[in-house]
């Protein structure tokens, strides 16, 4: 039997600071790895090569190095509660990748009166919840005041809980409903107590992809503009990439680079969150014959790792275990990820598309997953302040 090579202890094991834990096997990755080690920005072509390669571990090692330089062995998590106020959505037919939105007269259509929102939010009172995550459909009738009242009401009842609410798509929709501007909508929400904005609705920015899966949804430039305005108002936001449907690797990279450009300009993004598409019960899943066939674990890890490598101006990359399973999310902590979505109470959107992950997760379980991966769990608030 050949030696298992224990004499060549890795620097990590001997305690010294490390470079890349794995050297590239794919020669195409060698110059990219050199850039990463030297702290240089990688290019669009590099990004595509990182997706195309089958040298998964080398991609992971580059992302891991960038992550450890920024975050050390810390892994952040936050206890949050999802509130999905309505599933009525004027884009219910347009966004063929979604099974959540329905038309207003659909049998399963719902819109929560504010009292019901507050009632659901009461669950947070004697729990570790630090954040409300509020997203929903584009309701044709709900006015801006519904949302400002909601934010104000939640803040009154739960002054210490952070409100992260409304995607750029919902902001732009409210501006149309109110015949106002996105900037004014944002100002009204900030005035009501909005703290941060989630990163949903980005999908894939490529016009070709949007034409295929989300025609008439807010276009890339407008999505970016809403986030630019939020950043200018001092509202940190997240950003996402919905992968695993019809997009190409080049589409993914171009999307990530648009986020990088805005971050260069404003510095207002907190976290990048790749979202794995769930095909079940969606029109797109049926037409692609993909129902029951999720993204693979390798692709999930690559989406996270390549995002980490390209987004050299981001502090954080988050794995969304609701979509990729807790087991895969734990592995992601060695592939450049420093944020594990917290306990999530009452998630509805992904679960209507067939997610069979648990509806919530105990903080103890999250801490165990992080420790078991050899990392240090750090409970955070929405602004990444440590609560430990």
């Amino acid at each position: 039997m050949a030696s298992v090579g224990l004499t060549e202890l890795s620097p990590a094991e001997s305690g010294a600071e490390v470079g890349l834990r794995v050297q590239p096997r794919d020669p195409r990755l060698v110059p990219i790895a050199e850039k990463v080690v030297a702290g240089q920005r990688v290019s669009r072509e590099d990004g595509i090569a990182l997706f195309e390669t089958d040298d998964l571990l080398a991609v992971g090692a580059m992302a891991d190095l960038m992550n450890r330089r920024r975050n050390g062995d810390r892994v952040f998590y936050v206890a949050n509660q999802h509130i999905n106020p309505t599933n009525v959505c004027i884009l219910h037919k347009v966004c063929v990748f979604c099974s959540y939105g329905v038309r207003p007269v659909a049998e399963d259509a719902y819109t929560m009166p504010l009292e019901q929102v507050y009632e659901e939010a009461e669950q947070a009172r004697h729990s570790p919840t630090r954040e409300f995550h509020i997203v929903g459909g584009l309701h044709p009738k709900l006015p801006l005041s519904y949302y400002t009242d909601m934010v104000r009401g939640l803040k009154e009842r739960h002054p210490t809980i952070h409100v992260k609410a409304l995607t750029a798509v919902e902001i732009a929709h409210l501006a149309r409903v109110e015949r106002s501007t996105t900037l004014d909508v944002l100002k009204a929400l900030v005035d009501a107590g909005l703290d941060t904005m989630p990163g949903g609705g980005a999908e894939v920015f490529s016009p070709a992809v949007r034409a295929s899966i989300a025609d008439r949804k807010l276009v890339a430039e407008d999505w970016i503009q809403v986030h630019r305005e939020a950043h200018q108002l001092g509202i940190p936001t997240n950003c996402t990439l919905l992968y695993g449907h019809v997009e190409t690797y080049a589409d993914r990279v171009d999307h990530i680079l648009m986020l990088r450009d805005l971050q260069d300009e404003t510095g207002g993004f907190s976290t990048f969150i790749p979202l794995a598409w769930h095909p079940d019960n969606t029109a797109l899943g049926r037409s692609l014959d993909r129902e029951g066939s999720r993204t693979g674990g390798v692709d999930d890890l690559k989406a996270l790792a390549v995002g980490r490598i390209l987004l050299d101006n981001f502090e954080h990359v988050k794995t969304h275990w609701i979509m990729v399973t807790t087991r895969l999310s734990q592995l992601a902590l060695d592939f450049g990820v420093d944020d594990l979505e917290g306990t999530v109470v009452l998630e509805k959107v992904t679960h209507t598309a067939g997610a069979d992950t648990p509806l919530g997760m105990d903080l103890d379980d999250i801490v165990r997953l992080i420790r078991d991966a050899g990392k240090r769990p750090v409970e955070r608030d929405s602004l990444y302040n440590s609560l430990n």
Binding site: E13, R327, L331, A373
Partner: protein, 371 residues
């Protein structure tokens, strides 16, 4: 109880310093461990192939007297849910499996003391005559109870089964091959030496076998290393193991419910360490039934080169509430997306020959073909 000549050879003790040294592999960073293990895998399988087998599980009985605390499948004799399948039921299951292209059945069951050797030999002859297919069946602990009930030696039982149609032996029942651990989780099951003796006897009798390891059952990492060393040493002696198959205990529905399952990180580390420690086995199998398709796919970059079996009608792990059974197309897609060539195989790991004019292309089955 007759245990046969195989017991005359002493089991070599495991050296504590070797266990200690190899256990330190677990301290390597996950990615580095993966790179070492997949480097070893590419040395051993340079063609970039990842194989899988189309087969069906047939659990001929759930009657069992062994009461393992990690098992949700078994029923005691006399239980209202106890069953033994008839030959006709088994034949019908084989026909269904062959319709989807299965090249073998994996036949395993409880330790049912009411079944005599004749039941097994009759069943095997019936299968080979009426529904011919490769029979991968009867793990060491089942062979043990047959031998004890019949008061026959293991080599004699194996010879009778092989003559009747048994083609290879699965590696189940190994759990952790450290007697202190076995006493905790499977007190009534055969001990380490007996498990190894039975596999040695199978190899010497011309049957290929696999070896499993069930971990996350409260054992230490050093216990896992000891298990790997035992397998490696027997392989050095016989060369009869085709594959090593590590999987994690699924506590739900068992007497160990509430125990914490080994995490995905621990699974990948264990898989990679086993590829490095057991350098003389060619194939390492992912356990997608326990890990789910995502982690199983990632394991192909941590030293595994086989996706295992289609698991049509898996009953044992699913009794714990885990249900990850996948169609062939999904397995092929996962292998190819991970960057490998997907190859359908026989039990001896040779590739399936679609033009073969016999039910199976493995060496044992080919030898059964009339001239």
């Amino acid at each position: 109880m007759t245990q046969g000549a195989v017991l005359d050879r002493p089991i070599s003790p495991v050296r504590p310093d070797e266990v200690e040294e190899l256990t330190r592999l677990f301290d390597l960073p996950l990615l580095e461990l993966g790179a070492r293990a997949s480097g070893r895998m590419r040395e051993q399988s340079p063609d970039g192939n990842v194989s899988y087998i189309l087969d069906r599980n047939i659990n001929y009985t759930n009657v069992c007297i062994t009461d393992c605390s990690f098992c949700a499948f078994y029923r005691r004799p006399g239980d209202g849910e106890a069953y033994v399948l008839s030959n006709e039921e088994i034949g019908a299951k084989i026909d269904e499996a062959r319709e989807i292209g299965a090249v073998q059945i994996l036949m395993q069951g409880g330790h049912n003391p009411y079944l005599r050797l004749e039941y097994y030999t009759d069943l095997l002859r019936f299968i080979k005559q009426e529904h011919p297919i490769h029979v991968h069946g009867f793990s060491a602990s089942e062979l043990d109870i047959i031998a004890r009930v019949e008061k026959k030696s293991i080599p004699a039982v194996l010879a009778a089964l092989m003559e009747a149609g048994l083609d290879s032996v699965p590696g189940a029942g190994a759990e952790i091959l450290v007697d202190d651990v076995r006493t905790e989780i499977a007190k009534k099951k055969i001990g380490t030496d007996r498990w190894l003796d039975i596999h040695r006897a199978a190899h010497e009798g011309g049957l290929l076998t696999t070896a499993t390891m069930m971990f996350g059952a409260g054992e230490s990492r050093a216990d896992r290393i000891e298990h790997m060393i035992r397998i490696r040493d027997l392989q050095a002696e016989t060369g009869g193991f085709t594959a090593f198959i590590p999987w994690t205990l699924q506590p739900e529905g068992t007497d160990m419910a509430g125990a914490e399952e080994a995490t995905a990180t621990e699974y990948l580390k264990t898989v990679a360490v086993s590829r490095l420690v057991i350098g003389n086995i060619q194939n390492f199998q992912v356990s997608y039934v326990t890990q789910g398709p995502k982690v199983a796919q990632v394991a192909l970059h941590f030293g595994c080169n086989d996706f295992g079996s289609l698991m049509m009608e898996e009953n044992v792990v699913s009794a714990t509430g885990i249900d990850f059974i996948m169609p062939k197309e999904e397995i092929v897609k996962l292998i190819e997306e991970a960057g490998y060539n997907a190859v359908s195989r026989y039990q001896d790991y040779s590739p399936v020959d679609p033009d073969l004019d016999w039910y199976c292309g493995c060496g044992v089955c080919r030898a059964r073909k009339p001239a």
